[in-house]
Subunit: 361 residues, 2 copies
Amino acid sequence: MSRVWNFSAGPAALPLEVLQQAQADLLDWNGSGASVMELSHRGKPFMAMAAQAEADLRELLAIPAHYAVLFLQGGATQHFAQIPMNLAAPGDRADYVLTGHWSEKAVSEAGPYVQTRIVASSKEQGYRCLPLVDTAALDPDAAYLHYVANETIHGIEWRQPPPSGHLPLVADMSSNILSAPVDIERHGIVYAGAQKNIGPSGLVVMIIRRDLLAREGRPMANVLRYREQAAADSMLNTPNTWGWYLAGLTFKWILAQGGLAAIEAGNIRKSGLLYQAIDGSGGFYRNPVDPAARSRMNVPFTLHDPALDALFLEQSAAAGLMALKGHKAVGGMRASIYNAVPLAAVEALVAFMAEFARRYG
Amino acid sequence: MSRVWNFSAGPAALPLEVLQQAQADLLDWNGSGASVMELSHRGKPFMAMAAQAEADLRELLAIPAHYAVLFLQGGATQHFAQIPMNLAAPGDRADYVLTGHWSEKAVSEAGPYVQTRIVASSKEQGYRCLPLVDTAALDPDAAYLHYVANETIHGIEWRQPPPSGHLPLVADMSSNILSAPVDIERHGIVYAGAQKNIGPSGLVVMIIRRDLLAREGRPMANVLRYREQAAADSMLNTPNTWGWYLAGLTFKWILAQGGLAAIEAGNIRKSGLLYQAIDGSGGFYRNPVDPAARSRMNVPFTLHDPALDALFLEQSAAAGLMALKGHKAVGGMRASIYNAVPLAAVEALVAFMAEFARRYG
């Protein structure tokens, strides 16, 4: 067994201790004589594990009791559609903030279910900064205001949520949830695909203020209605039990690290090291994002000479640094340094980058 | 590590060899230096594995080229809703066959998207037999005819698909897919939640005739449209990568067993043994289903004296026979004996049942 440093944007690195526990449990979980994947979600052992996972998440994010926590399927993309289905009646409108690829996608997937309007955008700036959100410009009758807390491709992150006036604020936190404390009460919904900071793909964690569950939305199947899933403890249909279990292990791992304050400190240190290496390279490496908006999770960077890209990727892979190729939308490189990517991985990357720049600069 | 005989209805037993492979791969899959859960679904190694899984499934079920194979999320329940969204335009009608709990649920979840009509039902017979489907009674303008190939709770199974005239036949095969050969060309859609005969929960496998992908259905998000998922090789959004990987291992396991003909022979033998034990118990155990309709996957049975139920469950659990409690809708016991439940498990159950009957009969 030989592990690499994994900078994948998602599905992404999981904590080694979580994987080791999952490996040890795989044939016989919790003394059951079966894998957790082989057990009924309605049996006592799984239900107890599931409830503990929720309790641990509530502790980590200080989630108040008037918010429900759901463990769903479909990825954030499906919930781009399901959120307007649930929150907007036919004919309703909703406001959106554009900061990159994922917020654009949120708008397009919502289109069939709500009249969308862009109230703030940094598109004209090439998504290299965060736009100002003017609450006076919000639609007072909008069903909600949606934003993406971290743009995985463009490497932009909101340190604080944008103002939303009296509108329920809906945040896609797929790529930065649990990377730092969050003020849940500023939000109506926080949701996240699991495959960056929570666990494997195929699971969505949603934190939703209970009054929003009372909204009628549009006619739809029960399985798509958040109110029904909340009433059924996310077991209206069979949930992704393996994903839920791994999420629970990850929540415990974060608690063992000291919770979100400690995790945030680690992420500040890791991302600081990497941005410093880029900014201090004399232009060999470049990151175009406004420093105030730079993501601590996804660090895109380009080489001064794109002709070196292939060599950089080849040599970094040979050095055990995996998945550094940037997204085609922005080109160059991208290092995703989620919670589970240790400081040692970033140190190895930074050392490689310095040596590469020395050799080819 | 101590494994039990697992009769869970789903999530259910997985092949031991599949679990052992997954355990061996957990920290370092395919020489990648990472878990399969930690890799991009768009990377070459995962895409190659995913394509091989599809090829193996095509071989197992002899799926013709004019059918697409999709690996989706949401469980069969979500597709109860998504199928009419995709196949029926607003105002369209669809015909349904009722054979138990799951076909009732398919009807109710479809309700918001299509005008449903029951064309055949065994509800008045307590779902103890299969109804006759009269093609003359089908709505010639229906968008499709839907049936559930195996009713997990009632223990009823279609050996051959019902006639559907010229209507596309849509089959929920969640609980009997890959238990025997199937005539795919009799169907427009075959779909199945993975958590019985394919892998862990959180994955749906769908086999869909390509001409049906051209139907416009109703306005909906791209992520919910089968045509878009087919065009994107089921990667319009991040799929359940762990589920897909385990499905691939399970397909290989079935091929190694000799394919579906061999699997079917094993299932005939296992279910035959158990029904024989029930029918030959002199009334101590009873199964009420018409023998021609008895499921080879889920065998519900009652004890002649329900006062013995608790004792039966306690003693069977102590004997290493897990999850025999029946569904509350029908009471008594249920032994789910999917592909991954070995003959030895059924032999152990039958021996236990005989001994229990001897002691308390």
